[in-house]
Amino acid sequence: MKRFRVNQQEIVFAVFALLFLVFSIFLNGFLTADNMLTLLQNVAVLGILGLAMAIVVIGRGIDISLIAALAVPPGLVLQMVQNGHSLPTSLLTAVLLTIAFGLVNGWLIAYAEVPSLFATLATGLLLAGLGQAALFQLDVVQWSPGMNGFERLGQGTVLGIPTSIWMFAIACIVVAFLLRQTRWGAYIYAIGDNPYAARVTGIPSRPIIVLQYVITALIGCFAGLVLAASVNSMPTRIFNSTLIYDVILVVVLGGIGLSGGRGGVLNVIIGTLLIGTMLNGMTIMDISYAGQNLIKGVVLLLAVITDSFLNPRNEETAQQGDI
């Protein structure tokens, strides 16, 4: 087996390269600098969310509530500004709400030991419900004059490159630094690889798990702010969309095993590029919505199957409730 072993990252990169090549040759207007920037810009928010998800998946968890963190705190910013509060106050409130939300997630998973899938499924509903019931007047929170200037976060260009791509790049650098250069990052890998061994060696697993979910929620909130700035509103109903599956698709496709402990920022970038290329190509070809879903579904299925072949479950540490 040793002589021929490719990892998923390489397979996905090869698929991406092949797809890219085919589109470049056969699809008129695909391989232009402008279209490349559009391609990246369209998946920038998805990429940022992928980074957030990667952190918890590497730590052998999953965060289904990520879209709630994307929708509700940024929606609150827009709503508060609309109601006459200042932008800094609103941003601070939203960040505090996000941190509190991350703490609840982390506490439930680390201390109450609720499996991450169920814990975040419930808290996501809770936060989205709170937003709908108490915070927002309407599902789509509109931009108001008090927000002017803030749209620079998601619109316009810096040095000819759209800002949302810059935001994705910044998020990549921050997360890469966190995962590869800090002790906390090393702990996340250790916990993801084998939680019991990690605990035995004296790693403070529980606080680290809490930290993961707080960081994930904060990155989710950041992605939401970029999204809101880019479309000049916050469609909070996005919580009910299938975006969370796209995020998981990016992470799994990129080769971050759902069994934890593997992968990194590069995987997210590759996953995002593949999704971006697929979406862009399918839009140029004007493929119907149902057709696009079908193709996306098949690709996810292939990715999950490949994942289970290449990253077999660790029989020693796997337990019920694991993803």
Binding site: D34, Q41, N42, F136, L138, D139, Q155, T283, D286
Partner: protein, 338 residues
Amino acid sequence: MKHLGNPTKAALAALTLAAMTAPAQAQQGLDEPFQKPFKEALAGKTVAYVPVAMNFDLTEGWYAGLKKELEPFGVKFVIRDANWNTNAGAQAVTSLISEKPAVMVVHNPDVQTYAKLLQRAENEGIYVIQINMGSAYRSSAFVGANWVEIGERQTEGVVKACEGKSNKIAIIQGALSAAASAYTLKGVENVLAKHPEIKVVSSQAADWDAAKAKAITQTVLKQNPDLCGIVGFWDGMDIGTAAAVKEAGLTGKVFLATSGGGERKGACELVKSGAFDLNMSYDVPTQAAQMAGTIKWLLSSGAKPGSIKGSEYTTLIPITKENADSQTACWNLSDLKK
């Protein structure tokens, strides 16, 4: 007068006399015979409202409008929020049938799901008013926009703006499962059939999602920078379409037609800013008033539910730069809620 006989003369004299004494009697007032039965027909009745979801301008506007018109007459107004969940909506309608309100105001998520239930409700003696999205069953009343007309008028606007230009247009549909989207598309097709010179370069569903609409529009604009118009299916989603047009520096060059409920922030303000060139508004407060009127008429008529059936397609307001500043083109949700 000389042709008149004596009896007539006497009668005239009596009338004159009566006329002189009449003012005194008029001060006692005259009872209008129909208002009391009207009040009785409304007081204590329950009107149930089943929107596809609350928390967006249309359903909030209808709710506020109906409440304002009905509650002063002692009508109990209850709401069953389906929250974008078709099953939850069907359950709400089912349980309402056993609760027997006098009227059900139903906003269908699609053409089929509620159709049988609504028929059962009318058989059980509940008036059913369907709003903005009808079902396959024709109930006592339909009050709402004509989606085909919306599609036609939006496309006419785009076709006109395209005259002498590239004639390339894009269509940003809503969710494929939504009949409102399919009906609008029919309207678009009707107009395009008359204009073979128009080329549709992209017709995609963005799922009522602004971010998806933006992504699609960006890609389409990069492929077709000479695009002359876009037909969008909902203003809440087309904020994203407009953002893509703006980022491409094509505001004013690409004619963007959309539609919506005409709430000021979502419609007039965005037309004023140049984001939309045309927003076909179905004017939610007027729709609400027509719904309320229909409820009052049905309750006071005493007609058997299901025995009379009619439709009220509401008048559309095209919002453009010309009228976006006026007080009447749009409405404020905050005012309606007062």
